[in-house]
Every structure is written in C-alpha cells, then in structure tokens.
C-alpha cells in the first residue's frame, strides 16, 4: 500500500468539539467587542467588505448599549416592536411544540435563539421585497403580519389550511406577504431568489429578493449556483446564511466551517459579504438594511452570515442530547437575542420588567387565541381536512384524463371503506 518513503495519507473526518457530557470552553471563539467594525458605504467595492467576512459585526455591547457605526439608530417604539415580534415567535414555537406533543400535528421546528435572524431581517427589508425562506424563519411570517391562525391551520393540516393539507407542517406559503412557498428540499430557494431578483432587474422594478439557508445547506450545489448567477448578473439579492452551528447532528465542520467562515465564501465570488452576530438584533437589522440598500442601488448582491446557535433540537423528531453537549447552549457566548434586546431597552430607559411580563402574557394570549381559532377547523388526523377530491387539483392547471381516472378510483375506495361517506359531509359545512 505504501510507496517508498512517502508518508501515509490520512483522512480527516471532522469531529465537533463538545459531545454529550463534555465541558465547553468558548475561549477560542473570537467574539470582537461591539462597535469596533468599520461600516463601508453601501455602494462600496465588494472587496471593501471582505475583511468583515472574517470579523463579526456587533452593535449591542456587554453594557447593553448600542455601539459604533453599525448602530441602526432605531427609535424605542421600533425596538419594542422588534422585541414583541421575537417574543411572539418564541411563544408561538412553545405552543406548537406542545400541540405536537398533544397529537394535534405530526411535526414542528422551533427557531429558539435564532429569532433575530428572521424578525430583524424582515424589519430591515421593504415589505414587498420577495423573501425565499428556508424552514426556520417563522419569525419572518410573523413579522410580516401573516396571520397566526393561518400558520396553525397549516400546521394542523385542517380544512382551513390554505395549502389544502399537502405540505409538511411549517412549510407555509404567503404570497400576499411577499414570501415564497417553502420547499423542504434544501437550498433550492437560493437560485430561485436570484431568478426573482433577475426578473425584477429585467423589468426595471425596485423590489429586491432575499433568501435564507442554513450553514449545512450551503454545501449544496444550489448555493454555489446561486452565488455564481448573482455575481454574474449583479442580481439585487440579499443572501442570508444562518450559521446556527448544527445541521441536525452534523456540526458546521461538515459544511467546511473548520476552514474558514461561511461569509468568506463571498470573497471567492467577488460579492459583498458580512459576518454578523446573529443574536444581536440591531446588528442583524443594520447588516440586512445595508445589503438591501446596496442591492436597491444596483450595487449587487451580499452574502450575510448570521452567526447564531440552534438552542433546541432540529425538530420535534430530534433529540440533540444524543450528539452534543447541553452546555453549548447554556454557555453560548453571544447570549440570547430576546434577552439582549430586552436588556438594551431597559438600559436606555424604555422598558422594565413589568412591561416585559405584561408583553409575555399578551403574546401568549395572542397565540392561544390563534390556536383555539385554528382548532375549530380541525387538527391532523381528526377529521375536518380538505375535500378528498382536492388531492388531485393543482398537479397541473387543468386535470388531465389520467388524473380524472385516478381521482375516480380514490373516491371509489372511500365508498368501499365507508359506504355512507360523502366528500362534502366529511369536511363539514361550507367547504
């Protein structure tokens, strides 16, 4: 096997630093002080942003104050709205996990710890900018005012589910809110966002596109195709790469994270890149606004790495205790986005513990009301789904003969199993 004096080759298989039970030490994680990162002009050469790909843009300091040129200077009312949207997202997540455990749906995915990446991004974009989310951006839907009850209807796959019970829970679609249908296949939305942005540029529109994916999915070919196309056509698109450190049980090292930052991929494509503290809502807002302004000024695409931490399991089907140290989350050096924004608001005298408690109660009540309203439309596996015949609709614009035949067969099978069955009675009145 060996050839003379040549050294034996060895394969490096990445291994995360902290497996279950391990003590964690984040001393090697470079977290620069807030406010120290320069903020180039939005229309700068992409190269001027490249040092920031290896740095970390931070605004909120240890003193809970906003620092430096990236401070977006938001007024207290806007900050309170941001806090509330993040708290609402977290309350929604908590309630949906409970609903899943109660058997009202099959599956759910929380965004705990990552709320800023979606909520602050939504607030930084224009409301009609088209967003192509991945599966952990419920905060985006909530921030854009997509009704909670519609989200729960979809999660419960009930008779009011706008998507007719076809999609896995949380794979929403919200055209009215300028949010694209969520796929479930990873990274496919990235080139699609570029295509939308190219179309907007072809038409001389002023709207831009923005896309999300996780650091794990950045290994997909779609990510690289998207960045190539965006670079080639200078497409008006903001790429959000949410580095939450974990892709189910695979740590970021399996996407190349041991070699360089994910933001650094922008350097190779010659597009603007920013690496930001994703648990700092002000940094997220400032970076996305910067990139959106840049895209809108025809100055090109930006890749933003939101450096954050997936504080919970991948989904309700996952137990992270099997593969990573629980101490990672509790000792995460960048803290929690909701807690940090709350402390900031308190530090600037715009907030207090009493108002926080009242807000928490309000968002919880808001979620409970939405769940109650949705439950009236049914839950998964407990009747009240969409009419049976709708299973065959929307495969094509019109039903071809072979689907007509297959739908007849499906209806026939129902009648064999339940002779009294009627498609309309099965789903309740008015559907």
């Amino acid at each position: 096997m060996t050839n003379g004096n040549l050294p034996r080759l060895s394969l490096h298989v990445p291994e995360p630093p902290y497996r279950p039970g391990a003590q964690v030490d984040f001393a090697t994680l470079k977290v620069p002080p807030a406010g120290m990162q320069p903020r180039p002009d939005e229309t700068c050469s992409a190269v001027d942003t490249h040092p920031l790909c290896l740095d970390m843009v931070r605004v909120l300091g240890e003193d809970h104050r906003a620092h430096g040129p990236w401070d977006p200077g938001l007024d207290a009312a806007t900050l309170i709205r941001m806090l509330r949207l993040m708290a609402l997202t977290r309350a929604f997540d908590a309630r949906m996990v409970r609903a899943q455990r109660q058997g009202k749906t099959s599956f759910y995915m929380k965004s705990t710890g990552e709320e800023a990446t979606a909520v602050a991004t939504a607030m930084a974009l224009a409301e009609d900018d088209m967003v192509f989310p991945s599966y952990r951006q419920q905060g985006l839907f909530i921030a854009r005012g997509y009704p909670l009850v519609e989200m729960v209807n979809q999660i419960f796959s009930n008779r009011a589910d706008k998507l007719k019970g076809r999609q896995l829970p949380i794979m929403y679609s919200a055209r009215e809110q300028s949010i694209f249908s969520i796929s479930g296949n990873l990274a496919t939305q990235y080139p699609q966002a570029v295509g939308w942005a190219m179309a907007s540029a072809i038409k001389g529109d002023s709207r831009i596109a923005s896309a999300f994916l996780g650091e794990g999915s950045s290994a997909e070919g779609d990510f690289h195709s998207a960045l190539t196309f965006a670079a080639v056509y200078n497409a008006p698109v903001v790429f959000n790469l949410v580095n939450n450190q974990w892709a189910i049980s695979s740590f970021s090292g399996f996407a190349g994270g041991e070699r360089t930052t994910f933001a650094a991929r922008a350097i190779g494509y010659g597009i603007a890149g920013l690496r930001i503290d994703g648990n700092d809502p002000l940094a997220v807002f400032a970076a996305v606004r910067w990139a959106a302004d840049r895209a809108r000024a025809n100055a090109g695409p930006t890749l933003i790495e939101h450096f954050t931490y997936r504080a919970e399991g991948h989904s309700t089907s996952d137990d992270p205790g099997q593969y990573r140290s629980a101490a990672e989350g509790t000792q995460w050096p960048l803290g929690d986005p909701i807690d940090r924004l709350m402390r900031h608001l308190i530090a600037i005298g715009a907030w207090d513990a009493g108002r926080q408690a009242a807000m928490d109660a309000e968002v919880d009540a808001q979620v409970r009301a939405a769940v109650r309203a949705a439950e009236a439309n049914g839950t998964l596996g407990h009747g009240l789904h969409h009419p049976f015949r709708t299973m065959f609709e929307d495969v094509f614009e019109t039903l071809p003969w072979h689907l007509v035949e297959q739908s007849r067969q499906a209806i026939h099978e129902r009648h064999v199993k339940w002779p009294e069955w009627s498609d309309d009675a099965d789903v309740g009145e008015g559907r």
Binding site: M130, F132, K162, L163, K164, R166, Q167, M171, S173, A174, R175, F180, S181, S183, N185, T188, Y190, P191, Q192, A193, V194, G195, W196, A197, M198, A199, S200, A201, I202, K203, A209, G221, D222, S225, A226, T228, F229, V232, D394, V395, F396, E397, P400, W401, H402
Partner: protein
C-alpha cells in the same frame, strides 16, 4: 409539391424553433430566453440565432454553465411573472438541474395550492444519430414523464415544432420540450447510409408565419392504416413510417407529440381498429416510456389485441460512439417487429 402559401415558408426544424421563439418574444414581453451560448452566438444548434440582437441582452442572454442554476433561476423568474424559456444545451446535461425541475418546478403549484407557479419551457436537444457519443445522444424522456406536474413534449416536424413550442410557452405548467436533434436539418428516415434528405422536400416543413398553436395532448395520425398501429415520437416517427412504406405494410403511424398529457383517445381508437401495436422509441428499453404505452394499450385494448404488443427501443447500454448505428433502433429492428406482428 404545391407552392407555399404567401404567409408560409419552408423551414428546417431549427428554423421553425427559432421562429416560434421570435413570435413569442414579440408577442409577450414576459418571455425571456437564456442558456449556455444562446445569446450573441445564437446557440450551438443556432436555435436562438438573431434573437439577442432583436430583443436585447436582458431578454436573451448567456448563462453560467450550471443547469441547476438555469432551472433554479427560471423557477424564481416564473414566480415573479416572467415566462422563461431556458435552453439546456444537451438533454444529457440536464441532470444537475433535476432537483429544481422535479422537486421545485413540477410541484410548486401543488405545494403552494396555486399561490405560486413555475411556467417555463425547458428546451433541450435529445436523441442520437449524430455521433454524439454517450454524453450527446441520450433520450431521458421517461425520467420526466414519471414526474407528476411536468409536461413532456417531443415534436417531429418543423410545423409541429413551432406550434408545439408556442403552445408550451403559453402553457402555465412547466414543460420539457425535447427536440430530436437528428431532425433539426432533415426528416431522418433511419437509413444513415443513404443521402440525407432536407426538410424542404417534406410537406410538414411548410411553416405558417406568425402565431399558431399545436395543442399539447393531441397526437397526430401521420399515416392512416389498418394492419398495425405504430406509436412513436420524434425521430422514430419518420424511421417507423419509412420502414412500413418500404415493406408495404398498411401501418397506422401515430406521432404522439406529447407524452404527458398523452392522447389516449387516439391510441385506443387506432389499436381497437388494427388489433396490433408496435411501440418505437430510441431511449433505453427498461422502464422506458414504451413500457408505459405498452401497459396502457394492454389495459385498455386487451380484447382487441390479436398479437403481443411489440416494443422496439434502444438497447440498455449507454449510447455508444463508434457503434451508434448498432444501438439505434433502425430499419432492421423495426422491420422484424413489423413482420412478427403481421405474421401473428
């Protein structure tokens, strides 16, 4: 041969495709054309020649060599409201774009319950007979007919190529438009050792000017007959017809034109009349579209059948370069199948 009407002229298939794109770009500013080498150069087969000059670089442009990217951005463009017509330079190269076609374009209408659609027509040259070797000769249509939500179209004449391409571009569902590249410049009849025949001598090279549609989902009876039904598409329509005529077989040759949606009515009527069925395609045999056709005919016309259904196909090997004509389902293979059916 009669003189062309003033509003029609003789075209090769490649000219007819170019004309369809021209007509649609002029009619609908949402139509854009993109792909590798399609812009200034006009495409490796010249399908897009002159279009960039006429419609500008933001409507006709070259793309990076990334089929995933080409199809992926087309989905996003469709969601915006454009009607992209991407070209995949060879069907053999389409595989990197498969996830975007199969998981995204094909299912977007369904998964979003109609909120978003991906109207696009993916044009791609396919089939062999040009010494393209295993990477420029494949016929992967069965991979696409298997996918719920995709329409699959294969023209066999210049007239149909233009009318079907216009119908495909106007269709609101994603369409894979396979162009038999051996037919671009002439109606190849399978006799590779005889002089090539130009389209100008073929009646279906007379292509009307302007806009017309050949509807998706309608087959065409190319040659009426009583003895045996032939189901074919693309290049094999011409090859099968030639064999029937040289052997003096009264075959009814049906050009399917669209595989999905399939014109089952025309197929059933013909097989019920002739009682015999020959299916011909150039693609590999196992799991080919011929298997689906064979099953449908058996299910629907069993009592009319007087002989086992015959399938003539390419062999289950990669498309060989030097032995191209040994692979190709040519006159000998088809002729023997005809003979078996007639003798039955």
């Amino acid at each position: 041969m009669s003189d062309p009407a003033p509003s029609a002229r003789r075209m090769s298939m490649i000219e007819a495709i170019n004309d369809a794109l021209d007509v649609m770009m002029a009619r609908d500013c949402a139509v854009i054309v993109m792909g590798e080498d399609v812009g200034y150069f006009g495409g490796v087969f010249r399908a897009t020649a002159g279009l960039q000059k006429k419609y500008g670089k933001t409507r006709v442009f070259d793309t990076p060599i990334s089929e995933c990217g080409i199809i992926g951005v087309a989905v996003g463009m469709g969601a915006y409201g454009l009607r992209p017509v991407p070209e995949i330079q060879f069907a053999d190269y389409i595989y990197p774009g498969l996830d975007q076609l199969v998981s995204e374009a094909a299912r977007l209408r369904y998964r979003s319950a109609g909120e978003f659609t991906a109207p696009m027509t993916v044009r791609t040259p396919f089939g062999g007979g040009i010494f393209g070797g295993q990477t420029h000769s494949q016929s992967p249509e069965a991979l696409f007919t298997h996918v719920a939500g995709l329409k699959t179209v294969v023209p066999s004449t210049p007239y149909d190529a233009k009318g079907l391409l216009i119908a495909a571009i106007e269709d609101n569902d994603p369409v894979i438009f396979f162009e038999p590249k051996r037919l671009y410049n002439g109606p190849f009849n399978g006799h590779y050792d005889e002089p090539a025949i130009p389209w100008a001598r073929h009646p279906d090279s007379l292509v009307p000017a302007g806009h017309y549609r050949v509807p998706l989902g309608q087959a065409r009876i190319v040659r009426a007959g009583e003895a045996v039904t032939v189901l074919a598409y693309g290049t094999m329509v011409h090859v099968a017809r030639e064999v029937a005529e040289r052997q003096g077989i009264d075959a009814e040759v049906i050009d399917l034109r669209t595989l999905v949606p399939l014109d089952i009515t025309t197929i059933e009527a013909s097989v019920n009349k002739t009682g015999k069925c020959l299916i011909v395609h150039e693609a590999t045999r196992t799991g080919g579209f011929g298997a689906e056709l064979s099953a449908l005919v058996q299910e629907r016309c069993f009592h009319a059948l007087e002989a086992p259904i015959e399938r003539v196909t390419g062999f289950d090997t990669p498309y060989p370069h030097s032995l191209e004509w040994a692979y190709f389902p040519g006159p000998v293979r088809i002729g023997e199948a005809f003979a078996r059916l007639i003798a039955a």
